[in-house]
């Protein structure tokens, strides 16, 4: 034992220890006081602030999509509706092996094997709790098939939703249009707040042009979410009780088209296997009764979502099924403009009701050897205006055009709405070309090209050359002929019906400026000649007009696609199908009380009177309630 080591003084040591314990306790209590003060600051003084922040954290307003308005035809038959359908969804966070799951789904042919890489990128891009749509619409068979296999696919599920459905598919595709998935471009144009919950928007036709009417207003609901934005299911719903009430969405308005489904189906059938377009208009209102473009496509593919290969097939099809020929196709009108040019010539005095010319099969401008040929090589002989229209004598109009001049032609064709926007209520129409000196000056940059040549006037008189019109414009012009100059803006939508109240708003016909032809005699002559085209002794379409219990008027047209060299004969059989002439026909009926005006274009159909005219007749028969009388 080290006796020199200091002796422990237990009492002083204990005193020292107790002093130190007291000292430490004071320090501890001080520190604890800081914590308590902090808690008071957070929970009492700043309570409001933090309470608000915690509310904002957990409550999210979620938009509820409105139900899209339906589209009906003029009789109330459904053209576009919303049907419940099952979509196949996958929730990434619930799936252990995504590759394996996708491969097995492809094995069951529920998804396309080709689409797997694309789906994988899609799955990787979103939050892991958010469902990824694998297939938009499953057939009943596929739904049943998956239902059996479902236990083998945890994290994959079927979800019902409303899908746009077009019961008549291709027949109304170009008129009604279709809806498709919202794209980035759509979102730049549309009101993002209104489309917060909407997945699809109208892409073409009425669906596009009346998007605003059809869409409706979204509602909203409060949902409780966790920190990752996951919506908490209803069982934590007591959190919601103190919140403002949810708002129900307002369904979109229903839209009634002026389209007559029977007529539409007939027109669609008439163009089966062909490329072309048909537009039928009620002349006294501008209501479009039928609008068909062939070939067509199934709009349900867009609404339900299609594979890239399906889309590529549609897009790459040489017949261009997605192209709306009725609205956007522009064709040389051919001889169909002859009635309008006749009125123009009468109006400006370039011809009169009795003046006759001799048609020898061709026409030559003074100081030129170029022969402008008549469609009938041997010529029509002596013809007046009536005969020229009835027999479609080209030479008569060649001669007439020299006196009429291109600017007069332009003026009167413009009066009938050719080469300019019809103002139809569906977006996307092409305006075509109604040539004039001014037009040529602005259309070309090279000074040589800007000059107007006489020869160009000559070919313009039979609707060739620069002249291009859309089927809609032709039908619209035909309607103006039928009404003797009274014109209406063509439209497809006749009425809308409020989605909630069911109150209908009729869309009144919008009359626009009359065609500038005021002499009834002129109308009598021209419309009479058009009548004889179909029901006269020598009419080009007299075969078509046979046996009809009503009087009709029409005019055929044949538009050159392939230019025939001088001195050559046009041999139909030798020309490839796609180089054959386009067949056109315009007509209206009944003659004295017109109810329908029709324009038919059959691409490469060769002959207006033989190919296009029968279609026009069938449509008029159908609309006027005539059942096969003679044929």
């Amino acid at each position: 034992m080290d006796l020199l080591s200091p002796i422990k003084d237990h009492h002083s040591e204990r005193r020292l220890f107790i002093t130190r314990v007291i000292f430490s306790s004071i320090v501890a209590i001080t520190l604890l006081a800081f914590v308590v003060a902090r808690l008071v600051q957070l929970q009492i003084l700043d309570y409001e602030h933090f309470a608000e922040q915690s509310q904002g954290n957990r409550i999210r307003i979620e938009a509820v999509p409105p139900i899209r308005g339906l589209v009906f035809d003029r009789e109330g038959r459904v053209l576009a509706e919303n049907l419940p359908a099952y979509q196949l969804e996958l929730i990434p966070e619930q799936i252990h092996d995504i590759d394996d799951t996708l491969n097995r789904l492809a094995g069951l042919e529920l998804i396309e094997a080709d689409a797997i890489p694309q789906l994988k990128t899609l799955i990787a891009s979103g939050p892991r709790f958010k469902p990824v749509t694998l297939r938009l619409r499953m057939s009943e068979e596929e739904v049943a098939n998956f239902a059996i296999q479902r236990p083998r696919f945890p994290g994959v599920d079927l979800r019902p939703r409303l899908v746009r459905y077009y019961p008549h598919g291709p027949a109304v595709a170009h008129a009604v249009g279709y809806v498709g998935a919202l794209s980035e471009n759509d979102l730049q144009v549309l009101d993002i707040a209104r489309y917060a919950a909407t997945g699809q928007t109208g892409k073409t036709g009425v669906e596009q042009s009346f998007e605003n009417t059809l869409h409706g207003e979204p509602g909203y609901q409060h949902v409780v979410t966790d920190a990752r934005g996951r919506v908490i299911p209803a069982d934590t719903g007591e959190l919601l009780d103190s919140l403002p009430a949810d708002a129900h969405p307002t369904p979109g308005s229903n839209v009634y088209l002026s389209i007559d489904l029977d007529l539409q189906l007939l027109a669609q059938k008439a163009l089966e296997g062909r490329r072309g377009a048909i537009v039928a208009i009620d002349p006294w209102s501008g209501e479009v009764l039928a609008m068909v473009s062939a070939p067509s496509f199934d709009p349900n593919l867009f609404a339900a979502g299609m594979t890239t290969s399906q889309f590529a097939e549609l897009q790459d099809d040489l017949n261009r099924p997605l192209f709306n020929r009725a609205l956007r196709g522009t064709y040389p009108p051919g001889s169909t403009i002859k009635p309008m040019l006749s009125l123009a010539a009468l109006q400006v005095g370039a011809t009169n009701l009795t003046r006759k010319r001799v048609c020898i099969g061709y026409f030559m401008l003074p100081n030129s050897t170029h022969r402008y040929r008549d469609w009938r090589p041997e010529g029509h002989g002596e013809v007046d205006l009536h005969d020229a229209i009835e027999q479609s004598c080209d030479v008569y109009f060649y001669e007439l055009s020299v006196d009429l001049g291109i600017d007069n032609m332009h003026y009167y064709l413009d009066q009938f709405g050719l080469g300019k926007a019809t103002g139809v209520d569906v977006r996307g129409e092409r305006i075509g070309i109604n040539p004039s000196r001014d037009w040529k000056r602005s259309a070309f940059s090279n000074p040589d090209d800007q000059r107007w040549y006489h020869g160009e006037t000559v070919i313009a008189s039979i609707g060739q050359g620069y002249m291009l019109t859309s089927p809609l414009q032709l039908a619209n012009a035909t309607a103006a002929l039928a009404t003797r100059g009274t014109r209406f803006r063509p439209h497809l939508v006749a009425a809308s019906e409020d989605g909630l109240s069911g109150q209908r708003t009729l869309i009144r016909p919008e009359r626009i400026a009359d065609a500038d032809v005021d002499n009834e005699f002129y109308w009598d002559t021209v419309l009479g000649a058009m009548h004889d085209v179909m029901q006269g002794v020598r009419g080009t379409a007299r075969q078509v007009g046979l046996g009809a219990p009503y009087e009709m008027a029409g005019k055929s047209g044949t538009a050159q696609v392939f230019s025939v060299a001088q001195e050559e004969e046009y041999e139909e059989e030798e020309v490839e199908e796609r180089l054959r002439d386009h067949a056109l026909f315009i007509s209206f009926a009944p003659l004295d009380d017109p109810k329908i005006a029709v324009a038919v274009i059959v691409e490469n159909g060769s002959s207006g009177s033989r190919v296009a005219a029968p279609i026009a007749r069938a449509i008029m028969d159908e609309y006027l309630g005539v059942t096969d009388v003679a044929r």
Binding site: M1, P6, I7, K8, D9, E13, R14, L16, F17, I18, R20, V21, S24, S25, A28, L31, L32, F34, V35, V36, R38, L39, V40, L42, Q43, I44, D46, Y47, H49, F50, A51, Q53, S54, Q55, N57, R58, V224, T225, D226, A227, R228, I232, T236, E238, L239
Partner: protein, 379 residues
Amino acid sequence: MWQGEEHRLVTRKAAPLSDFARLMRRLSIDGPLLGSVILICAFGLVILYSAVGESTRLTVNQFVRLGIAIVAMLLVAQISPDFLRRWTPWAYVAGLILLLLVLVTGEVGQGARRWLNIGIRFQPSEMMKLAVPMAAAWYLHDRPIPPRAGQLLIIVAMIFVPTLLIARQPDLGTALLIAASGIIVIVLAGLPVRLMIALAVLAVPGALVLWNYMQDYQKQRVLTLLNPDSDPLGAGYNIIQSKIAIGSGGLFGKGWTNGSQAQLEFLPERDTDFIFAVMGEEFGLLGVLALLVLYVFVIGRGLWIATQAHDTYSRLLAGSISLTFFVYVFVNTAMVSGLIPVVGVPLPLVSFGGTSMVTLMAGFGILMSIHSDRKLLPH
């Protein structure tokens, strides 16, 4: 020297004891301490049930751990302080060896090497939480206090060798707690006030040295504390969400299992380090203060036991265990309420997890042992 062996035979005159109290005394159980600890644990389980998203499985899991820890406490309470003191150096040396082993062969988890697998998987640093203050108290036991400068240096070395080893794992939170438990021993042993002031002054350059030694994530925590809004979705997220949780609890709280911050997973680590925020949100200021009162009672009881202890070792150890427990409570609550940087310190007896619970309870067992030992001595 007197070791007071003969005095053991003398019994103090006392009021008659009930059978229950006699049993408690025989089992070296301190009723007030046991009662308050069980209250905290019970309170903790209630909060935990809410914090783990009402998972019965996890709550039962924690309940079992608590039971094991309380059994451990009662077992440790049977060990006499003398026995403990004699074995202290061995425990300390064994702990150091295990810490070295961890650095060499330890298992990696969450970016740190803290676990050792020798039959059972455990953290040697947990053992050091008790071994370090025990070693410091053991060293001072035979020596007069306040200690002289040379002795101080030895104790400081005894404290800082394991501290640095643990900081290397890296586990800054535990390292700081262990250093604190050792330093508390020195302070209680009468570290001169002048020296404490000098050390406090030196702390400033020391902090700068420490800054350079810190890992990037540790630096980030300090920076985040100073301005949590600078990185609201990154490092500041925890503090911001925790403050929202506590603040939105108000005076009375949102009610049990109704804390939106906690239930909707805005609050990170809601069942471990940030469980205090769940409390604050669901039980409000009143609930939080109630818990703090319980803690203060446990600490006060521990300190009272320390002042009643009969020898230096027991006194210093009991004082250190009690005050270290305070440090736990303070660091966690201050960190969760955004007063100090986020260091990984759980809320004692409440946070989910078993290892630290056993250590804490063992500490309370030592307190009980010291307390019952005292009762056999004359005044």
